[in-house]
Symmetry: D2
Subunit: 293 residues, 4 copies
């Protein structure tokens, strides 16, 4: 005999662009270019076991609510939007006890002085995931992904164990490059008073500044240093999780061609790549509960 | 003050092809075309906090061990390989208490009768994830992904709640299409005696047969029916997790052109899409522990 | 001073699925899962120079015609559809003198015996490109792409020039793997009488059979042998163009680990890759004109 | 009987990073992050017809030459590199009469003041394609791709023909968004004296400024205006080719929810999309010959 376990359903990747006309500096437009995904959980056994959909708010209705809420709220921060949307679903649908709203935000920079012309930034994707649960309360994990950074020096790697399969030479100088994928969880009691935009900017600048300012002996050390710096910079954050691929840049052996290669020519390899994942927590950080699910 | 939380590191996406020459029917070659990812955890605080790498087996060494083990084991099932590799890392590196090995396997079909000619199958990717933990023991989650299926009828969707944002009309006939992404966890006491290849084939055929044989009132119902059927077909499986995107096929309105459209012409939409996720468990299934991490 | 050069416009990637209910063997459904792109050329200077759109059939109208024509024609071969669609645009829009229609077809295999259940094939994408020009007439280039094949032996590479940058060792045995991307152009006088489906099947089988049956000294030789075999197998074809990436499989050096590697363990590399492109023509093949544009 | 037609072969996607240490402002490093592809043509019938590779410079040797040349030349402009590389192959390999070198350049911005820290720009990819032919001479086509721009207004579309398949309503205000993919060909007699970096910057700024500054009645008009402006801004350019997808942003109908939508909430659709392609030529521009092949 079997039973239904954890489940959720929703509408994924709603590509919504909200234009707030004239709402920016000097009467310029403000853009929100989002990819919104919703997920609902609750009393959904009927739909799974017998195909009774009486508790299943259609994913199409979820999508419609996204568009309508964007009209109502204007060009707000993604966290503000996600909090309102998650609360709406659980409040308006009695069988729904939990809602998850995830948003990716794509950046745009003004072009010229028209106020209505923009070019996509492309340097990173800003993210947020809000979970509102009738019992466990509300969590916010914000983040960014695909922020690609490189130090051309100031990175060593040595002192590691040499097992029978170790052929990697130690190095006192290598390129260190990674794509920063980061999420940061807020203390639950801060959600009402956060300036989400300011927090994002501070974290982004902290990541960049820490990456540039840290002499590295391992990507793990870089991960921990960045995580620690984020929590120091924004005390409302209680946990940071980082996923850092080691984008290998291998020095090319030019000696067959009679050339030296003093840290000048590298091959940027695709696969395989190192992958470093870790969490840094503020002391006394509360249990994450559902926040990262 | 901050502290280091959960962490792991390893080599991702080692693209290894193992040829077992003459090992197949009639002296044909056997291929294993794999994408292997390793992750190690344990006493790694030093690397994070001070850049002391004395406990950090280099990801390059992990990669080398993958190649060497492939030589030693031959063209085995991916679960067999992952079990051996995970056990190796924890046994040979004292500070490493946990290893995770994930493998994607790409299928190839013979071409002609040479015994050495193949064409890539492309219908799905077979997967497995093994976690070996010094305390928690060993788990195996096998699976498949990107198996795209469609029923052109035998699917209804109605009886859902109508909130102020509901505009979707009910339907007694629609296309049901999804990309099956499934993982199945084995009872811990079965790992020594499994025929992994046979289990995979049985599950795959169960998924296809159940999808084709189920009259659907919701994708949730399809999910639960497939999950139940898998556990019934392979009793060594204690849990199935499925992620099923609803690949919407919208009927095109041809009336402006004086044409009817009696379930003939559809637009296959990209985004947004419904996303249905759920788990089906055997009664008394043990807690998953780390199995899905 | 500047002038307008060659130009075209249209609707790209119309994802249309046509279901012909009961039209297949035993009353099963027949599917056409297509990605259709249209492009029109003609007297379009006004739109470019002054924004006068009086000659610009909207790309939305082009899309609508695709859906309506699919209703009218049923589940035909893609070439039949593209020929009819291209002729329609040039016949119905006086300023439009040329139409290009390109179709990708995704394959589906029946699942079970319901007649309405299918699984996507994934082994290749079938293609066709039809150009209908008021002056130059009509061309058909059909093809396939992403057909990935491998010979685990029967491939050598040696005898190449050794310049100061050559370090590659010669080999009498290597894996030969490629993704076949092929287009084949038909003699203009055959278009009225072709059995497009049969021709596609014959070409596909010829590619697979030739790849398996050819002992290779270079991928160039394989390209020419395949092209020649296609023209021999389907005399209505006057030209074949092939783009063959050399999907390198590098033997892994296991000697540091005390292991030999007698053609057993390979690394499947991503980039860079060799890329071999070439054309094979029937004697007296007519000039291609616009066919490949 | 068949014959060999046009053909070429080479190494594609050599991912090379050149670091010129201390060569930048204030002693900062200069980066060139490139994706280089080479193709050679010439007397290659032997390799195709008989597998005689005596004229086939291995693609591995081509790759090696890329790395060595990067060492020799330093962090030059991609056009400078491609010109030197193409000339090298034809000069050093007697049977090779034509070489094509294509480079994609990924941008990096400095982070902080270390001089060795960078973040990837992500706003566009810079490109160049050089062809050096023993008879036809040398051509340079530079360009950029994936520059995504949007005007939230100042775009109309009306006055187009209404055929039986036209349902699109005319509009006096829409979002105009596209991903600019542009190539620009230089007059042959300018290649010795170009400042490639300055030309690129001028063209990029011209594209952005023209896009923002043009009130649009069609994307075709925008294409022609951009192309004309580029030639006016950089007289050494004789032809511009643009491929502009119309990235549709559809206004969402919120009336079912009792809300108006005065150009505020849009759905960013994926497929299908309009696709506008065209060329703008300086008067008396020479025939392109092989430049765009």
């Amino acid at each position: 005999m079997v039973q239904l376990g954890a489940n959720r359903y929703g509408k994924a990747e709603i590509r919504m662009v909200r234009v707030a006309r004239g709402a920016g500096p000097g009467g310029s437009d403000v853009l929100r270019d989002w990819n919104v995904s919703t997920s609902l959980s609750g009393d959904l056994a009927g739909s799974h076991l017998t195909g009774d959909n009486s508790n299943v708010l259609a994913t199409d209705s979820q999508k419609n609510r996204v568009y309508a809420l964007a009209k109502e709220l204007g060009a707000v921060e993604p966290e503000t939007f996600a909090l309102a949307l998650a609360a709406f679903f659980t409040a308006s649908q009695e069988p729904i006890s939990r809602a998850r709203v995830a948003i990716e935000q794509y950046g745009w920079n003004p072009v010229g002085s028209t106020g209505y012309s923009f070019a996509r930034a492309g340097d990173l994707v800003r993210t947020t995931t809000v979970i509102h649960d009738a019992e466990a309360g509300t969590s916010v994990v914000s983040g960014l992904k695909d922020l690609i950074v490189m130090n051309t020096t100031a990175s060593e790697f040595w002192g590691y164990p040499k097992d029978p399969y170790t052929t990697l030479p130690e190095t006192k100088d290598r390129i260190l490059a990674t794509a920063v994928n980061a999420g940061w969880r807020f203390w639950p009691d801060t959600l009402d008073r956060m300036d989400w935009g300011a927090a994002f900017t501070t974290v982004k600048e902290t990541i960049l500044g820490t990456f540039a300012g840290t002499y590295s002996y391992s990507l793990q050390q870089m991960l921990y240093t960045i995580g620690s710096a984020i929590i120091a910079a924004v005390p409302e954050i209680c946990e940071v999780r980082l996923t850092l691929p080691n984008k290998h840049h291998f020095i090319v052996d030019l000696t067959p061609f009679g050339l030296d290669n003093d840290r000048e020519v590298y091959h940027a390899d695709d696969r395989p790549y190192g992958l470093i994942e870790g969490s840094v927590l503020a002391d006394w950080a509360p249990d994450p509960g559902l926040a990262w699910t």
